[in-house]
Subunit: 220 residues, 2 copies
DNA sequence: TAAACCATACCAACTGGTCGGTTTGTTTAA
DNA sequence: TTAAACAAACCGACCAGTTGGTATGGTTTA
């Protein structure tokens, strides 16, 4: 259950050999189909409301396969979460921030991606991270820990980039990088939340305008 | 079901007559107990996970009473939502903003209440509005409409106050009041969301510091 | 009496999870 | 080169428990 979380991300080399249907890769394919359909069902209905029967239907396998690969629903959900959410935050936030010399511009670009809806998910369905976080926080320790770690990595990437900006003169000196980083994430999450609440993407554009002004206020 | 939404808020004059146990007020009392325990259960477990059996147990009545007063779970949830959430937003935001001459200071005070946890709910359980919004938005039209209206009233109160501040010189002229108001709500919701996600109230204090700086940047 | 109010027993649908058994691919040994 | 032995992968009927909701009859009050 706990080692599941560490085991999942290491499936990078799939498909190994799509032609030969060996025992190993057949199992891997079933498992991958389960994880993918689990993520979709969880994203659309939430973890608790996601039905295992629907998940296996979408994955094209049966209960037996599911419980061969995963101990229980909890382990499946954790696997799906780790595989997709971690990758999303890493690709869209952590990696771009890691080396940028001008963090405020980078952040503006990233937020712009969200505002214009090319981040791979329907904004009206909410941010997957936000959705699951709100549902599972406080009721499941394993999900809780995963969120906490992911959030810390996210915020640390922002803090590092902001401090780098302070040193090279693209960010006003004297700001509290941790505080600003936290507010940036919170604002972003909040906007996603409001878009979902109102089912109106216009809210995102409206808020983004003021958010960009805020970013500018952090310039020297 | 739809008229329920309009019927609920007009119970302002409760209790009517606690001494005389007439038919009318006996029913009102049962109904009120149901609405209250429904709100608590929904707040703690979410709407879908809230069990009607638990609700009637906490309310001290039975299924018969419940389905005498409400058409179904949906109507009960809507009633509880309208009664408690609407009142909360009105008391904490809309009323104080309605007449203030210095909106930025008022907003700072309101956010301060949340940051120091004296708003009547455990921050780690999340904001009730935020919780329900995230769960029900996009899957239930009636809840959706209620959220949309409440959010608009909330934002309008902020916009009016900010424009008033622009006129009387407590707010910098030339800001986009709608945009700023939207970002303020989003930030606040986002912070609540992050506190719940990390189960760490310190996040609120950290983010609030940067948020106060942002408010100051809106001064003349 | 009539109507509002409440209690109990009950229902079909669905939940996550289990289990005995079958299929399939690999390994071993003759 | 076969065939036996083995284990991973898979199947689907089934389980107990819970859900929201209903049917029906009794009680309280105007």
């Amino acid at each position: 259950m706990t080692d599941m979380q560490e085991k999942i991300p290491s499936n990078a080399s799939f498909p190994l050999n799509p032609d030969k249907d060996g025992r190993q890769i057949r199992g891997d394919r079933t498992r991958q189909a389960l994880v993918e359909s689990a993520f979709e069902e969880i994203y659309m209905h939430g973890f608790r409301a996601a039905s295992l029967n629907d998940i296996i239907k979408k994955a094209g396998c049966t209960k037996g396969s599911l419980y061969h690969h995963f101990a229980d629903k909890h382990a499946l959900g954790l696997a799906a979460t780790a595989e997709f959410m971690g990758a999303h935050i890493k690709e869209l936030w952590i990696d771009p921030l890691a080396e940028t010399a001008d963090p405020l511009t980078s952040i503006r670009t990233i937020i712009g991606h969200y505002a214009f809806g090319d981040v791979g998910h329907d904004p009206r369905l909410g941010c997957p991270f936000q959705n699951l976080t709100q549902e599972m926080a406080g009721i499941d320790e394993d999900f809780q820990n995963y969120f906490k770690n992911l959030f810390e990595a996210w915020r640390d990437a922002l803090v590092d980039a902001l401090k780098r900006g302070e040193r090279n003169g693209t960010v006003r000196k004297g700001i509290d990088a941790e505080s600003v980083a936290t507010l940036i994430i919170a604002s972003h999450q909040g906007v996603a939340s409001m878009i979902k609440a109102t089912q109106d993407e216009g809210v995102g554009h409206t808020a983004t305008s003021a958010f960009f002004d805020y970013l500018d206020s952090l310039r020297p």
